[in-house]
């Protein structure tokens, strides 16, 4: 076993300076062999290691954890960033008030900004308005000329865009409830599958807890993510109603917008079994507890998802093209 140098030159207890180095260097040399969320005990170990409170075998074990588990390394990075920020100066009060006022739409005196001569006219606001105007014109024209390209595929979005121009740039995704006849299909020895064509990149995973190997020909069969129970309950309610959901809202489920193109016109299916994980409604007057639900999201768009597709029954009046199946994480 490697004792490491962080034990100091003679003392068993590392100095604060060396302990700083030990945790960051362990993160630096993280091997990404594990992508497992830390338990509360592991989090405590990592925190104590980073704080220089461990020595001997405990420190060595903590270092191994940080070097093996990507989330432990991330924890070290996060702790260090937050600690350094807390030790530093806070933003000036006047600046804070100005930023909050601007963000919240309250007129505030703009701080004088140092601008090079000749570029002042090209302020971000002017440029932003121009860009937004052009984008609105292009998008509006596109929707008017080709309503079938709306994410719902039935031209409804174009009609809505005409009724409410502010919604013109909000793509949405069809969602529906579903059941699966054979849950054994959700558990296979391998969580990877071959894909026929390039497209979805591993870098855009909704959550890298199951970090895929980074070859172009392989994509994960599913993704494990966590979503707030309130958010999931809202999605499922809309799925029961057959209402589409703005795709931006679904990013936690299907990854960043660069990996999920709503124009592909695919639907997201929610397993009825998820209902069992939703917390019971809170009685009036009782403080609501925030909770997070662990989901497993299967990508149904690539072969070989045929078995899954055959076993899934979609509860929707209209024909849908299943894209993802969100279910319980085992």
């Amino acid at each position: 076993m490697n004792n490491g140098p962080s034990g100091g030159e003679e003392d068993d207890m590392p100095s604060r300076r060396e302990a700083d180095g030990a945790s960051l260097i362990a993160a630096l040399f993280n091997r990404r062999r594990q992508w497992l969320p830390l338990s509360s005990d592991q989090t405590k170990i990592v925190d104590e290691f980073d704080a220089g409170q461990l020595a001997g075998e405990a420190a060595a074990a903590a270092e191994r954890l940080v070097r093996e588990n990507a989330f432990a390394a991330e924890r070290v990075m996060e702790r260090r960033l937050v600690q350094q920020a807390e030790r530093g100066r806070a933003p000036p009060r006047a600046l804070t008030e100005r930023i909050l006022a601007e963000a919240e739409g309250v007129p505030a005196r703009r701080a004088p900004r140092k601008r090079a001569f000749g570029a002042a006219w090209l302020s971000w606001k002017v440029a932003g308005v121009a860009v937004v105007s052009v984008a609105a014109l292009v998008l509006g024209g596109e929707l008017l000329l080709n309503p079938m390209r709306g994410p719902s595929g039935i031209g409804r979005d174009a009609q809505q865009a005409n009724d409410n121009p502010t919604d013109a740039a909000v793509p949405s995704v069809q969602v529906a409830m579903a059941t699966i006849a054979n849950r054994d299909l959700l558990v296979e020895p391998s969580d990877m599958k071959l894909r026929a064509d390039p497209g979805r990149s591993s870098a855009g995973n909704a959550n890298p807890r199951k970090e895929p190997r980074t070859t172009e020909s392989v994509v994960p069969r599913f993704y494990d993510i966590e979503v707030p129970s309130d958010l999931l309950a809202g999605w499922m309610a809309q799925a029961r109603n057959g209402s589409p959901i703005p795709s931006a809202e679904l990013e936690p489920l299907v990854g960043g917008v660069q990996t999920f193109n709503s124009s592909q016109n695919v639907a997201i299916l929610f397993d009825e079994a998820l209902q069992t994980r939703l917390p019971q409604p809170t009685p009036p007057g009782v403080t609501k507890q925030a909770s997070v639900i662990q989901l497993r999201v299967y990508d149904l768009r690539q072969q070989p998802a045929d078995d899954l597709l055959k076993a899934i029954t979609i509860k929707a009046p209209q024909q849908l093209a299943p894209g993802y199946f969100a279910t319980l994480r085992p």
Partner: protein, 197 residues
């Protein structure tokens, strides 16, 4: 307003949905981190300008960087990376203006996280890349020691034999190599380190 009763995931979801008060909450929770990261990267005279520009851009882009954040990964780590990109772009745009090329760069790239920015793997890769840069600046013996210790996982006994050092001398040499590596890393990733004294 209570500031720690909801998770970052919930907070960011509220912000991107435009929930009343959510931006203020986000600001209260993360502004010091953002300000600190900017302070480490920007010239002292520009810090407030960059900070204000960051939030202007964030709201102007309808919180796109927050939408792209992968839930389940660390928001502070992600924000630090976004801020770093922003500062780089800020100075790139500033230089473009000063070179009288025009201000287009100011509009083009700011606050657009790239693919590698948004995953935990990307954050680790970035730290690794900076670490390799710092490692490359070490002298030959330091490089060999760091490589043996952290890449090849050699034991202290094996290393003592390879470098023909006593165990105590090895620990001293390794400790100093590690300190020099960190000193190099400090210049490349200052946000992970305390202010210089």
């Amino acid at each position: 307003m209570a500031n720690d009763d909801i998770s970052d995931i919930e907070l960011v979801d509220l912000v991107v949905r435009g929930h009343p008060g959510a931006f203020r909450r986000f600001y209260q929770r993360h502004s010091q981190l953002i300000y600190g990261c900017i302070r480490k990267r920007a010239n002292a005279a520009d810090v407030d300008d960059v900070f204000q520009a960051f939030f202007e851009r964030l709201t102007a882009k309808d919180y796109r960087p927050l939408r792209l954040w992968q839930r389940g990964t660390s928001l502070p780590v992600y924000l630090a990376k976004v801020v770093r990109n922003f500062v780089v772009d800020f100075y790139r745009a500033k230089k473009s203006r000063e070179d009288a090329i025009g201000g287009a760069a100011e509009i083009d790239a700011l606050l657009d996280p790239q693919d590698e920015t948004i995953s935990l793997k990307g954050h680790l890769n970035e730290l690794r890349r900076l670490g390799i840069e710092a490692w490359a600046e070490l002298d030959r013996r330091d490089r060999a020691m760091v490589c043996d210790r952290f890449h090849k996982d050699r034991t202290n006994d094996e290393m003592a034999e390879r470098f023909q050092l006593t165990p105590g001398a090895l620990r001293t040499a390794l400790s100093r190599a590690q300190a020099r590596l960190l000193a190099g890393l400090r210049t490349l990733a200052p946000e992970f380190f305390p202010d210089s004294v």
